[in-house]
Subunit: 410 residues, 4 copies
Amino acid sequence: MSEELVEKILSGKVKLHEVENWTANDSNAATAIRRAYVERKYGKQLGHVALNCIDWDDAISRNIENPIGATQVPLGCAGELTVKGEYANGSYPILLATTEGRLVAGISRGLTVFNAAGGVNTAIAKDGMTRDVLVRTAGAKEAVRLARWVEKNIAFLSEAFGRTTKHGRLVEVRPYLAGRDVHLRFRATTGAAMGMNMVTIAAKAAVDAALPQLEKEGIRAIVLSESGNMCSDKKPAIINMLEGRGVSVVADATLPRKTVLERFRVEPEMIAELNRIKCLQGSALAGSHGFNAHVANMLAAMYLAHGQDLAQIVEGSQALTDAAVIDGNLYVSCWLPTLEVGTFGGGTKRETQQEALRLLGLYGDKDPDGKTRLAFAEIVAAVCLVGEINLLAVQAAGELSRSHGSIKRG
Amino acid sequence: MSEELVEKILSGKVKLHEVENWTANDSNAATAIRRAYVERKYGKQLGHVALNCIDWDDAISRNIENPIGATQVPLGCAGELTVKGEYANGSYPILLATTEGRLVAGISRGLTVFNAAGGVNTAIAKDGMTRDVLVRTAGAKEAVRLARWVEKNIAFLSEAFGRTTKHGRLVEVRPYLAGRDVHLRFRATTGAAMGMNMVTIAAKAAVDAALPQLEKEGIRAIVLSESGNMCSDKKPAIINMLEGRGVSVVADATLPRKTVLERFRVEPEMIAELNRIKCLQGSALAGSHGFNAHVANMLAAMYLAHGQDLAQIVEGSQALTDAAVIDGNLYVSCWLPTLEVGTFGGGTKRETQQEALRLLGLYGDKDPDGKTRLAFAEIVAAVCLVGEINLLAVQAAGELSRSHGSIKRG
Amino acid sequence: MSEELVEKILSGKVKLHEVENWTANDSNAATAIRRAYVERKYGKQLGHVALNCIDWDDAISRNIENPIGATQVPLGCAGELTVKGEYANGSYPILLATTEGRLVAGISRGLTVFNAAGGVNTAIAKDGMTRDVLVRTAGAKEAVRLARWVEKNIAFLSEAFGRTTKHGRLVEVRPYLAGRDVHLRFRATTGAAMGMNMVTIAAKAAVDAALPQLEKEGIRAIVLSESGNMCSDKKPAIINMLEGRGVSVVADATLPRKTVLERFRVEPEMIAELNRIKCLQGSALAGSHGFNAHVANMLAAMYLAHGQDLAQIVEGSQALTDAAVIDGNLYVSCWLPTLEVGTFGGGTKRETQQEALRLLGLYGDKDPDGKTRLAFAEIVAAVCLVGEINLLAVQAAGELSRSHGSIKRG
Amino acid sequence: MSEELVEKILSGKVKLHEVENWTANDSNAATAIRRAYVERKYGKQLGHVALNCIDWDDAISRNIENPIGATQVPLGCAGELTVKGEYANGSYPILLATTEGRLVAGISRGLTVFNAAGGVNTAIAKDGMTRDVLVRTAGAKEAVRLARWVEKNIAFLSEAFGRTTKHGRLVEVRPYLAGRDVHLRFRATTGAAMGMNMVTIAAKAAVDAALPQLEKEGIRAIVLSESGNMCSDKKPAIINMLEGRGVSVVADATLPRKTVLERFRVEPEMIAELNRIKCLQGSALAGSHGFNAHVANMLAAMYLAHGQDLAQIVEGSQALTDAAVIDGNLYVSCWLPTLEVGTFGGGTKRETQQEALRLLGLYGDKDPDGKTRLAFAEIVAAVCLVGEINLLAVQAAGELSRSHGSIKRG
C-alpha cells in the first residue's frame, strides 16, 4: 500500500499533510511514506533521517507537521557543575548538543575551574513570559486615557486573563504609546511551561474583556494584532534587556587568583581587561546589545539538548558578562535577562530532550509552580558564565597576556 | 571491560575525555561507555539518546567532545519552493527541523501561495565572513595612522591573509577606532564553508605580518584579541545589518491580489498595514533591530536541518520584512543581511544534515567557489520570506481584518 | 583700575574666576574686564559679545562662570498655534531661536495648515525626571535581594527622598541589575523646574538612608556613582524611549484631505508613504532610535528661545512620527517620550528667555505644581508635530509625488 | 508708519513675513515692527529681546525668517587649552555659551589639569558630510544591480556631484538595501562649511544624472526622497558611529598620576573604574549609544558659542570616552565620530558667533580646503575630553573613592 500511496503523492492526488488519512492516522507509517516520497521524487537517500526514536503519533500532535524523520545532533557531557541557586542547588550533569568542535571541551575545562572555586551562585531577578497586544484608539488623547485605565484596572485584567489558563498568572501590564496606538505588554508567570502560547491566548482574552469596559468610559479601541512586536519574541530588542522576558537570572563566582593562574594560565587582570575592551567596548562600538563573548553558543547547545525553542536564543544572547579583579581574585558574573525556558510542553516532551531534563531531575510534568523551570534557568545561566569565562581566559592567555595589553612608544 | 571502565570514571580515575584512551580510540565504544557512566551516576535512563546513527569516530574529530549519544529533533517536509535566484534556480524541497507545532504547516501553506505566484526572487547583495582583530597602539595619533596604513595596504594584507587558507579570499579590511585601540574588521569569501575559523586564522596571520611593517613606519601596535566583538559573531549588532556578515540576501515576490484574497483570505492592505505597525513601528519602539515577524523561526528550523551553526540565528534574525500594495497586488520582500551559512565543514558533515543538503543538491564537498553556499543562502532567504508573509497573513486575517484597522470616535 | 586688572590677569596674578574679588563682587564690571583681557591677549575684538542685556550678578549665581558677554541668536516668530491639550489650551505665539534658514518659514507654513484643521491635540502620558544611583553589593544574590528590598520599600525611599526637596515627589524607583551592581532609577515629579539637580540630590539622600536599613537585613551595599548612566541624561538611550524622562507627550491631528491638497500640494498618501520608508524604515536600517524627520530642529529652536538645557535635545530627538490616511484624510501624530523641560530655574531666568516664557504666559515662578511646565511640554510637542509634517510634505511634494512612488519594470 | 503697520498685522491684512514689503525691505525696521506686533497682541514686553546687535538684513538672507529680536545666552571663558592636533596646534581660548551653572567652572579646572600634562592630542580619522538619497527600483534583483552599478561608477557619480558645487568633493557612495529600495549614502568633503545643503543638492544631482545611465542598462529607478534617514541627520543612529559624519576625531592624553592625585584628588584607578561601570556598562544596559558622561554639554556650549547647528548635538553625543591606568598614570581618550561643524556659512556669520571663531583664528571665510573646520573639530574634541574627565574625576572623588569600589560581605 505504501508504494501506491507514494505514487499518489507524486501525482499530486494526496498532499503531504493528508497521508495520515490513508494510514488510519498512523503517523509512524505516514512518516515513512512521506520520506519514501521525498526520496523518490528527488532521487536521494534519507537513510539516516529514517533512523529515529520519535513517537510520531505524539510528535505530530504538538511538535511537527509532515514529518519524514529526524535530525540528529551529537550530544556531549561536559561534566557536572555545582550550582548554588534559589531553585537549583547541587551538582548537575551538563549535556550539550552541538556540532561546534571544542565547545564541550571548553566548557568541560571551565566546569572544573568553577567547581574548584566552589561552584556558581545564581539568583533570579524576575520571572514572567510577555506578550504585547496592540490596540488602536481614535487618537492621542484616547490612547493616553486607555493607558491610564489599564494601569488602574490590573485586577480586572488579571481576572480576565486567568479565565483562560490554569497555570498562567498575570504579573503586570505595561502600556507603551505610539501615537493613537497602544502596545499592552502583558507579563505572566507560566508554571513549568515556557508559556508563550498560554500568555498569547490569555492576554488577548483580557483585552477582549477590557474593550467593552473601556467603551463604557468613552474610550473606543480595537485590537490590531495579538502581537505588536514589543513582546519581543525572537528578535533582539532592548525592551527585553530592560524589562526581562522569561526568567531573568544573574550568575556569579569568585575565582581565587591561584586557581586562575594554575588552571587558566593567565592573570586575572588580563581576563578583566579583555572583557572590558571586547565585551563592553567592542560590543558598544558594533552597535551590539550582546555584551558578552559567546553566550549564544551555550544557549544553543543547552536549548537543543533540553527541548527549548531554538529561535529564542536570539533574545537570550542579549547578556552582560562582567569580570573584575577584587583583592587579586577574579570576580565574574553573567546577567541574563531573557531566558525563555520551559521544562514541560513544547519540545521537552520529545524522547531525547525529555531524557536530558529527567537526568537533571527537572522534567516539569508534576510542577504547577514552575520550580523546575526556574531551576533549569539557573543551570543554563551558570553554564553560560562558565563558557564565557573559559573563552575569555583562552583569548586572554594568548596575545593579550604576552603583551600585558600595554605598548610603549618607540 | 566497559563495566570496569565505567567504574573507573565513577571513581575519578578516568576522565570523560580520556575514555578513548581505553577503547583503542574507538569513539563509538567510548560514547556508549560514557553514556553508561552518566546513567549509572545519576540513576537515569538515556535509552533514546543511545539510539543514533552518528559515526562517532568522525564526529569527535570535528563536532563534539565527550559524546554520549544524540539529540533527535523531528524533521518535516513543508513541500517545495520555487526560487529564482542567482545561484538557486528551480524548485527545492523544504525540510525543517523543529518542535514548534504549526511552523511546518504554516510554511507549507505559504509555499503553495508563493509557488502559485511564480516563486520567490532572490539576489545576493554581498558575501563575506568577517572577523575583527583588535589591536592597540600607543595613542590616538598612532591609531589614526594605523587605520590609514591599513586602508592603503590592502594588497599586502590580502597576500598575508591568503597564505594560511586555500579557500579564503580577503575582500576588505575596515578599521574602527576606539581611542588608541583599533578594530580591524576583515571580510573574506570562504568557498563552501561558513568560514569563521578560516577567517580567524587568516586575519590574525595578516595582522601578525603587518605589525613589523607598521613598526618600520614608526607605528607600534600589539594584538589585544583575535576577536574584538565587532565581527560581530553570535551577538545582535547593527554593524552586521549595515555591513553584512556571511551572505547578504534579499528576497521578494509579488502576490496577485486574487491569490492573496483566495489563499490568505485577507486583503493585501491589511498585511501591509500590519507589517508597518508591527514589524516596523512595534520593533522600533521595542528598541529592536529585528524588523520582522519571526525570521528566527525559519532560520532555526532550516539551520538545524542542514547542519548550520545554531548560535548564528542570533544575527540572522536581524532582518527587515517589507509589504506594500502596488496596483492592488501585494509586493513583499525580506532583506537578510547576515546569513552565515556553509555547505561544507562544521555540522554539515553529520549524517542527517548531510542528507538534507544532498537532497537540495547543495552539499559543498566539491565546490571551492562556494556556489552551493550562496544557493543555500538564497533558499533560506526565500523560506524566510514565505514564513514571514504567511504569519502576517494569519494575524492580519484576524482582528485587524475585521476592523479594517480603523476606529471611529463614539 | 580695569586696565590694571587686565594686566594682572595677563600676568597670571589674577585668575579669570577671581576677577570678582577685585571688583567688589560686581560681576557686570568683572565681565567687562574679563572680556577686555581676552581681547588684549588674543588681539581680537569682541564688540558684539559685549553688547548684551544680561544681569551678570544674577547670571553668575546660577548660569555661568567667567562670563565675558553673550552669544546672540536670531529669534523669529512663526505665528501662533492652536493647542488643545490638558495643560496648554488655546492659541500660543511660537518663537524660535535659530540660525537655520527656512526653519521658521517652514513651521510658519505648517502652523497655518494645522490651525486651519483645528489645531493640535496633545496629551501627557507620563511625567517625571529620573536619576540612576549606582550601587554595588557583595554579589549577585545580594544584588537581587537589594532590588527586591527597593521594590518593597518605596514608601521608605519616598519619605527619605522628600526630605531634601520641597517640589520633588518620588514616583517610582526601578532597579536594574548588572551582576553585583544595581542601578536604581529614581523618577520624581519636580514642580515647575526641569529638576535634574533636585532629583540627583534627593535620590542620593534616599539611597544613603536606605543603606543602613539594608545592612540590618544583611545586605551590604555602597554607592558607586550618583549617576550610573541609566538615567539617561544627554545621551541617546532606549531606556528613555521606553520609560520616559521628563514629560512624555503625544500630539496628533487630522488634516482634511482638501487642506492637505491645497496647502501642502501633495496627496496624503505620499506623506504617509514617505514617513513609512524614511522615518520608520530608513531610521530602522540606520540603527537609529529617532523615528522622525527632524524633531531635533524644533527642539533646538524652542529650547534655546525658552531657556531650556540644549544638551537635552539629544534624548528629546528620540521621537516617533506617524502619518496614516484615514478615510482619505491625513492623520498625523508625534510621540515624544523625553521632553525634559522646565519653566522655572536653570536658563529660564535669563532675560530674553524669560520674556519668551512670559509671552506664553508660562513662566513658572508661581507654579509649585508644575502646570506651566506640562503646558510648555505640550506646546513643544505640538510644534514638533507641525514641523515634522511640514517637512515631510515638502519632501513628498517633490520626487515622490511626481512618481507616486511606483515604478514599473521596463 | 510702524504703528499703522502693527495694526495691519493685527487685523490680518499683512502677514508676518510680508512686513519687509512695507519697510522697503529694511529688515531692521521690520524686525522692530514684528516685535511691536507680538508685544501688542499678547500684552507682554520683549524689551530684552529687542536689545541686540544683529544685522537683520544679512540675517534674514540666511538664518531666520520673521525675526523679532534675539535670544541671549551667557558666554564664559574657561581659559585656554593646549591642543596638539593635525590642524589645531597651539593654545586656544575656550569660550562656552551656556546657562548650566558649573559647566564653565568644571571645564576651567579640567583645562589647567590637561595643560599641566602637556595638552590634548587630537587626530582626524575621517572627514565627510553625508546625505542618503533614497531610490526605488522594480524589485530585489534590480536593487542589487543598482547597488553594484553605483559601486562601479563612482567616477561618474563624482563628476556629476561636482557639477553643482565648488567646495564639495565626493568621497564615496555606499548603497544600503531595503527590499526593492536602495539608500545611497553620499559622503563628501565640504571646504569650510558644515555642508549639509551643499551635499544634499549635489547628491540629488548625481542621482538624477545616474538614472538615465541605469535605465540604459535596464535598471529603472526613481528617487523617493532626497533624504532617506540613513544620512543620518539630527537623529541618534549607529550608522554615524560606524561610518562617521562630518569630522571623526579622536582626542587623548596621559595625565601623570601625581597630577591626577593633586588636582583631581582621586586615584586614577577610580576614574578608570567609574568610566567602565558608568560610561560603558551603564550606557550598555540603558540601550544607549552614547558611551560617555556628558559630551553633549560640551558640544552644546561650544556649538552655540561658535555658530554651529545645535540640532547636531544629537549625533555628536554618540561619543566613546575611555580611561585606563597605564604604569600608574591615567590614559584618557574620547572618540567623537560625528562632529558636524563648519567655520563658514550657516550660523557662523552671525555677529557674536563670528567673533568667537575669529578669536580662535578659525573663521573660514578664506579657507576653501576646510582646514579651519578641521582645526575647530579638533578643538571641540579636545574640550569634550577635558569636560569628560573632569566630571568623571568629580564623581569618582565622591562615594566611589571613599569606598574604593569594593565591598566585603558582612
